[in-house]
């Protein structure tokens, strides 16, 4: 007996199958678009249980601008505590290490300016136990205070240089030292910079002693500290974007949660990249396999997403008067509080810059505190400048006293001694290989995030989304951008 149901034609069946496949492939994007972000009110009960909305937790009796609770805090976390945890992860790790940083900038015309520096980093306080440090450094009263805060000498535990800097280094004292040795471009070869970073406080703004060695002039000169909120020349990022802001310089607020599926985006013109595998040799990787939190991160969602807290840090004007940025929005990995996406907003509340990071566990001994930025992309929306920084190799290690005394001094730079040469092959060979501008993620947290691009930038953004790689200024008419909602 023949069915009354109209049989599918082959064409219709094909159409249905293709439609189904298209729907299936677009599911993660649709999920990311529509379902990923939640305001505080919409958060799941599990997330609510991890969040403490109380803004007035006890303050440290001796350092009133930091929370009294022992770092790294315990759940439920306040927004401020999340902000403090995120400050653990500036551009260069706070633990002692050597890394090679291949960096560059690209303009909308395709001009690129790249460099390679080897960075030696030596924090004053390294990763050790509170007991060991206190025996060496802390006064009797500090030890008493630490004991009251649950950091008794008998309770040995790992604590990070950031935690040490918070409580054990006085404002004005040296917190960290970075020596940077330039190996590319040829014009900058052998140029060096020494950054001696100080612990600041709300009343002590001087952040750095800054020395530059010019190989061309063969001179070491002390330079004024870069203005903290000013874009480096030829770059999208500011000094504070690199060294980090201190958490007491902002008022913290939780905006909600989100799931991120991609941060740094490689173009389809660069399917492979050769990485220096922590100085053990060069390895070729498909760029599509590079994950946001690295290969060892155990908390990826089944669909590959990373669960994030989304917090807002508003600059405290009494601490940073005349600061260029009004507030920041940060996407923090829920487990490590690593900021994998940061947005900066100006005094007019409009988006100025987006910073996205791919992260790796570079110091496994520190567990969640051992993550470090592997690859960072900055996008300055006003000037449409993109910068990138690729920390191709991180070698975590302690410095001997002799090395510390030798390397981290201005005089060392005159010796033109590339003490620990590291190599990299990740520089762009062609402007077409440059990273895509980060997702704008329009639609998320619209009460806070105001995004306005100039028509030219909007057109370039739309063009790159269609092409899968940067489309430079061509002088030819650019198609009108698609509606903003169609652009993730």
């Amino acid at each position: 007996m023949r069915s009354n149901v109209m049989p599918f034609s082959k064409k219709a069946a094909t159409y249905a199958v293709v439609s189904l496949m298209l729907w299936a492939t677009s599911l993660p994007l649709a999920t990311a678009e529509e379902l990923t972000w939640r305001t505080v009110e919409q958060m799941s009960p599990a997330d609510r249980a991890l969040y403490d909305p109380n803004p007035t937790k006890p303050r440290d009796p001796n350092i009133p601008y930091i929370p009294a609770a022992p770092y790294p805090f315990k759940a439920p976390y306040t927004a401020e505590e999340m902000g403090y945890r995120s400050a653990e992860f500036p551009h260069v790790p706070r633990w002692p290490n050597t890394l090679v940083d291949a960096f560059g900038m690209i303009t909308s015309s395709g001009y690129i300016n790249q460099g390679v520096v080897i960075v030696y980093s030596a924090p004053t306080i390294t990763n050790t136990t509170s007991e060991a440090v206190c025996e060496k450094r802390c006064s009797f009263w500090t030890r008493i205070r630490q004991r009251n805060l649950g950091l008794s000498a008998s309770a040995k535990r790992m604590r990070t240089p950031f935690e040490g800097a918070l409580r054990e280094i006085k404002p004005g004292e040296i917190q960290d030292r970075w020596m940077q040795y330039s190996t590319f471009p040829p014009e900058s070869q052998d140029e060096q910079q020494l950054w001696i970073m100080h612990r600041t406080s709300p009343k002590m703004a001087n952040k750095m002693d800054f020395f530059v060695y010019s190989a061309g002039l063969r001179r070491v000169r002390r330079q004024p500290q870069p203005r903290r909120d000013q874009r480096f020349p030829d770059n999208a990022q500011t000094f504070d974007d690199v060294v980090g802001r201190d958490p007491w310089e902002m008022e913290w607020k939780l905006l909600g949660t989100d799931v991120l599926y991609q941060t740094v985006r490689f173009p389809n013109t660069r399917p492979e990249i050769v990485l220096n595998d922590n100085n053990k040799g060069f390895v070729k990787r498909e760029t599509s396999t590079l994950k946001m939190m690295g290969d060892q991160y155990p908390y990826y969602r089944p669909d590959g997403g990373v669960d994030c807290w989304v917090v807002m840090g508003t600059i405290r004007k009494e601490v940073l008067p005349n600061y260029n940025e009004k507030f920041l929005v940060l996407w923090l990995d829920k487990h490590s509080f690593f900021p994998i996406r940061t947005e900066k907003y100006g005094q007019n509340n409009k988006l100025m810059m987006i910073e996205v990071r791919n992260v790796r566990l570079e110091n496994p001994g520190l567990k969640g505190f051992g993550y470090a930025a592997h690859n960072t992309v900055y996008w300055d929306l006003e000037h449409d400048i993109m910068s990138y920084s690729f920390h191709d190799t991180h070698v975590a290690h302690e410095w001997t006293e002799e090395q510390k005394n030798m390397i981290f001094t201005p005089e060392f730079m005159r010796r033109e001694w590339n003490f620990q040469p590291l190599k990299t092959q990740v520089l762009l060979k062609d402007p077409a290989q440059a990273f895509l501008r980060p997702f704008l993620d329009r639609g998320k947290f619209p009460d806070v995030r105001q995004i306005e691009l100039s028509p030219q930038v909007e057109a370039r953004y739309a063009a790159q989304e269609r092409a899968g790689h940067l489309i430079f200024e061509t002088g030819k008419p650019v198609e009108a951008p698609k509606p903003a909602t169609a652009i993730p």
């Binding site: 203005r227 480096f232 030829d234 090395q403 001094t409 430079f472 002088g475």
Partner: protein
């Protein structure tokens, strides 16, 4: 030759004409296509690096090669046919320089800590060839004015260095740079090729300094270091030659039958008594860095000493022997950084203060009164006298918004016991007891060019006393544009004016010039 010159000028003007549209790329979309194509082509344009440096370094992993090709040209705006030299000078040329320099730096790591390094230069100045001029003839006096043709100039630096945590030893021909101000204050170790006269500036020192053979040892103690120098061969300054573009118009050649100056005798190399010694101590202490120096050196320029007379009465001729003299230098350097809070209009201003000072004992000056006495028959004088001198500078550098840098640097030169009969001597006032040069420097990159375009302006007014209170002013406007990470260009305008014709800058009123520099590093 004229055809070559024409082609050269045409090429240069075409390339310069390309700059404005590049610099103002965002102003007009009309140029965006050209700009983008150009930028992407130039982004990776590094032929020497790609076909010479990289293959060489791959073949010899312990070898490091680096270099640059630099072309810089200065064109006088308003040359004067008859100028200087007692009315015999001819400024019948436009190009004050058409210099082309190839620099190659090679370094070979023999084993960790032990390196061999060589810096070679090949230089050719077309100013003597590419224009017809009777006023330029310095190349016939010394060919290095036109091209480097001696091993000494070509093999610029050549040394072996050995480094450990505690000390460095560098043995060979090298340059040691001690100063870091605009101008030379404690930068006294090496001589300098001063062919550019008043246009020799800090950024040129690296190329113009004259390396010397020495043993350079530095001991390191934490934040302190002690450097000891034993300079085996003395290298004096080389002033601009007669018949060179920057030779002083104040020079008057001696009349026939006048005084006689013998060739100067350089201190004999290899004699321990003729070696020079210097030491420097440095210490970094937080926001303050400071150092002290002592040096026992030869003066960089000879002084004419009377060694005899000929004739009698008004017809007496003096016989001069130029000699360099031993000098004892004592110096200090310091810098201090801070942030000035809440400065009106600009907010917090990161600031650095720098100081350099040098006190020199027993600088020898020629004294016209003593020369007159010698001419009158006083056999007890050699026509010179010793005085102490002092030179110092204090600089304040401010980091202003928009990546703008402003530097103020008052510089003082002073001669103790000065009198009007004295000529110039090392470190002292210029034609005066004291000379004050308050240098002003302003630099600003333009964001609309993505900071590729930077404008610098420097002003050097010269005051003095008690004789010539106003000695003129020099100003320099430099517009730099970065074509790529390998190629940069500069457009430079220098002007000289004010003050009497005998003033430091007043004498160069006819030397205003515009120039360009193209620098390719590989």
């Amino acid at each position: 030759m004229r055809k070559v010159l024409h082609l050269y000028l045409s090429m240069t003007l075409i390339s310069l004409a390309g700059l404005p549209p590049i610099a103002f790329a965002d102003v007009s979309d009309i140029f965006s296509n050209v700009v983008s194509d150009f930028d992407r082509t130039m982004a990776t344009f590094n032929p020497v690096g790609e076909y010479f440096r990289e293959p060489l370094e791959r073949a010899l992993p312990d070898l490091s090669v680096q270099g640059r090709i630099k072309q810089w040209t200065d064109i006088l705006i308003n040359p004067d046919k008859q100028l200087g030299y007692g009315g015999k000078g001819l400024q019948d040329y436009r190009f004050a320089q058409l210099q082309n320099l190839l620099e190659l730096k090679t370094s070979y790591a023999i084993f960790p800590g032990l390196d061999f390094k060589a810096v070679t230069h090949a230089m050719y100045d077309g100013a003597y060839d590419w224009q017809q001029s009777k006023g330029l003839y310095a190349n016939r006096i010394n060919e290095t004015a036109e091209r480097y043709n001696t091993t000494d100039r070509i093999m610029r630096e050549l040394y072996v260095s050995y480094r450990t945590a505690k000390y460095d030893v560098i043995v060979g021909k090298q340059q040691v740079i001690w100063g870091k101000m605009d101008g030379q204050f404690i930068d006294i170790i090496n001589g300098m090729d001063r062919r550019e006269g008043p246009q020799l500036e800090t950024e040129d020192y690296e190329l113009r300094r004259l390396p010397a053979w020495m043993i350079n040892t530095t001991l390191h103690f934490g934040d302190s270091s002690l450097q000891l120098l034993d300079i085996i061969s003395h290298e004096q300054d080389q002033q601009s030659l007669p018949g060179s573009p920057w030779y002083s118009p104040l020079y008057t050649p001696s009349a026939p039958g006048g005084d006689v100056t013998l060739p100067w005798r350089r201190p004999h190399t290899g004699n321990l008594d003729n070696q020079e010694f210097a030491m420097r101590f440095d210490r970094a202490a937080g926001a303050m860095t400071y150092g002290f120096i002592y040096a026992y050196l030869w003066d960089k320029n000879p002084v004419d000493r009377i060694i005899g007379t000929e004739g009698q009465g008004a017809a007496t001729r003096l016989l001069f022997q130029p000699q360099v003299n031993r000098l004892n230098h004592f110096g200090v350097t310091a810098d201090y950084s801070t942030t000035l809070p809440d400065v009106p209009l600009v907010g917090a201003v990161p600031t650095v203060f720098r100081l350099e000072a040098l006190y020199t004992l027993g600088v020898r000056f020629t004294d016209s009164n003593l020369q007159a006495a010698a001419r009158a028959g006083d056999a007890g004088t050699d026509g010179t006298v010793r005085h102490d001198t002092f030179r110092a500078a204090i600089a304040a550098e401010f980091g202003l918004p928009g990546n703008t840098t402003f530097i103020m640097q008052p510089s003082l030169y002073y001669t103790f016991g000065w009198n009007p009969a004295l000529s110039y001597g090392f470190g002292g006032g210029i034609e005066n007891q004291w000379t004050l040069i308050p240098v002003f420097y302003l630099s600003h990159p333009f964001a609309f060019t993505r900071d590729r375009l930077t404008v610098n302006y420097t002003l050097y007014p010269v005051f003095g006393g008690p004789e010539i209170t106003w000695q003129g002013v020099k100003s320099k406007l430099r517009i730099s544009y970065k074509i790529s990470q390998f190629l940069t260009t500069d457009l430079v305008y220098n002007s000289y004016g004010g003050g009497p014709d005998s003033g430091l800058y007043g004498q160069y009123k006819k030397w205003d010039n515009v120039g360009w520099e193209i620098n390719y590093a590989f």
